[in-house]
Symmetry: C3
Subunit: 263 residues, 3 copies
């Protein structure tokens, strides 16, 4: 199986699919092609949250503001998965997550992460490496199997790769401070604060930036239009509004600091 993720919109992903289908009969599954344009950080967040739900697969990822420059092209084995994409950090958080899952340990293991540089001949274009470099490499990785990348001429072991880490929240005496990592399509503002903070607090109230808001297990536990603090499907604290947009209701956006406190 090969999954596809990009910020290409349409119809460029189809050219990648054509190339993939020319090289392999692998099943193709679209993750998303509407990641925010050239937004490596937001894409990295979503990949970390979504790709671990897949069975072992090759994941083709192209959010690549540096296309055509000398940034490396990578194939990273992470557990039984292979991540193929540009060396700009977009693969790093999901690689760590998949490797930890495989190792059964906390974030930090490296045994299950093996980065390779993709050997790139002169590609057909300097502006569409998704089609000309990464799609052929993903097809090759799929055919090779995750634990045999090293046997392929196209992949040479890499010394390292570009990292990317999200801001860490800070514990406070009565709660935590953190920030909004991303806002999803429903308008839910997903913070970097772990949901465990809300354990046993459903039905109670919490102060968000100084205002009292109900803590609820899910959206419809408050009235339509009302704000709530909940644990999102990614396990983080989320600022939401039932049948509304949490980002608007709380007046927050990506990168904004958030102060959460129980009275």
């Amino acid at each position: 199986m090969i999954t596809l993720s990009s910020d290409f919109g349409s119809p460029y992903p189809a050219a990648m699919k054509g190339v993939l289908c020319s090289h392999t009969d692998a099943r193709l599954v679209d993750v998303a092609h509407d990641f925010p344009r050239q937004d490596v950080r937001t894409t990295a967040f979503w990949l970390r949250e979504v790709l671990p739900y897949f069975p072992p697969a090759t994941h083709l990822v192209v959010v690549d503001p540096g296309v055509g420059t000398d940034r490396a092209a990578l194939a990273i084995r992470a557990g039984e998965h292979v991540l193929v994409g540009p060396d700009n950090g977009v693969l790093a958080p999901v690689a760590r997550r998949l490797a930890s899952d495989a190792a059964g340990t906390d974030d930090g293991t490296t045994d299950e992460i093996e980065p390779f540089e993709i050997v790139v001949d002169e590609p057909e274009s300097a502006t569409f490496h998704g089609r000309d470099v990464f799609a052929p490499a993903a097809a090759r990785a799929h055919e090779a199997d995750a634990d045999r990348l090293g046997e392929c001429d196209e992949f040479v072991p890499a010394d390292g790769y570009e990292g990317l880490r999200f801001a860490e929240p800070a514990d406070e005496p009565d709660g935590a401070t953190g920030e909004v990592l991303v806002v999803d399509g429903f308008g839910n503002a997903i913070t970097n604060v772990l949901g465990e903070m809300l354990d046993g607090q459903f039905g109670e109230q919490i102060m968000v930036d100084g205002e009292r808001v109900p803590v609820a297990r899910s959206y419809a536990h408050v009235a339509a239009g009302e704000r709530l603090v909940t644990v999102g499907s990614h396990g983080n604290v989320e600022l939401a509004a039932n049948r509304g947009r949490g980002d608007d209701a709380f007046g927050v956006g990506v990168g904004d600091p958030i102060e959460l406190a129980f009275e």
Copy 2:
């Protein structure tokens, strides 16, 4: 085959696909993931119009404003199809349509409809049952076959399920009154009036809310920009504009009453 329908936008559907692929090799086909957010009624309309074109399949449907509350999770056998989703009415119209098609009778048969409640253990999240409840259930239903759901521990016969009916049009001496059920992406205003009303009238004129409009077999039978009344692909009377938006040209939206009369 498993089809997927939701109001999730992107990238949440990919997490459901990952879960499905982890449980089954079934072919996956996206119906749509941009149904209007939390709009059970509009989604129910489209599912009724689209799903009957598929061969027997399991249809995963997640438009679920009550996620995390005590609304039931359903698997409904309808003919040889299985519908999996929340018990909020979204599955009801398509279930009736599929059951009628299977029985070869008019709407109303219930022999071909068998509702089951999905037995839900504590799901991983309270906010994303598409991933944590419905996708595993759809995979299970697919593996079980439509006529053997009752043999699975995960599905227990349900007494009933939430219904949903669209407003009925009314016959008038010279025509009919009805309402706009949905507006499609082209701007066509799809009414609840059956297209048979226009039989033999193509090339003639009809009064729409008191204004004279041509009745035409298709859009390009009138000049660019001109309004027309036609029979849409769903078999209902549709208010349209050639190379324009019918909703704007007629000044109508979802739920608006429509009066159609031949002079």
Copy 3:
């Protein structure tokens, strides 16, 4: 394999997929369903650029402002590919390209192009031939194989088909004049001038409509926000802005004339 292209948005493409799956087990691959509504010319451009990357396949294309009129329905064999869609020009440029690729010659060969008219019985609707005419025909063409369309009752040899040609650029003493053919989702303005004009000029400057702009191999070779002239992935000269929109930065849109000159 059957690819799908349309301007349908959502959820109409799903009805076509249902019909296809009812007739064939062929692999389905979406090219795009958000081609600009009823824009035959833009769709024709993208099909020409994208479909040749696919292995031999049946390509279902429905951008069809004349649906329900007497325009013909076509199946065109082009090399080992088959193009199925309305006879309005949308298939012409990609048919020529696929045929040239198959023949190994320049544009102009016709040996590898064989047009058939699809025999249409009374379709279920006059407004959705994608579902009622083209999808069944594409399934049939897929089952028949490209070189045996003539043996099917559904396909009769056609005398010709509607052509469509893009404006040709003109060589000038110091460069070329052309026009913007399409603007892609990133805002890159793709011209009809061949990229060979820029051979050996990367790092130099060029006059675009009288203003000096750097010629660069790819976007990130200039500073963020800065304009550049490059060769896009389609092989044409493209007006772009690094991490911005080229159409806005150059103040150009589809159809605008462009003057490119080296000093």
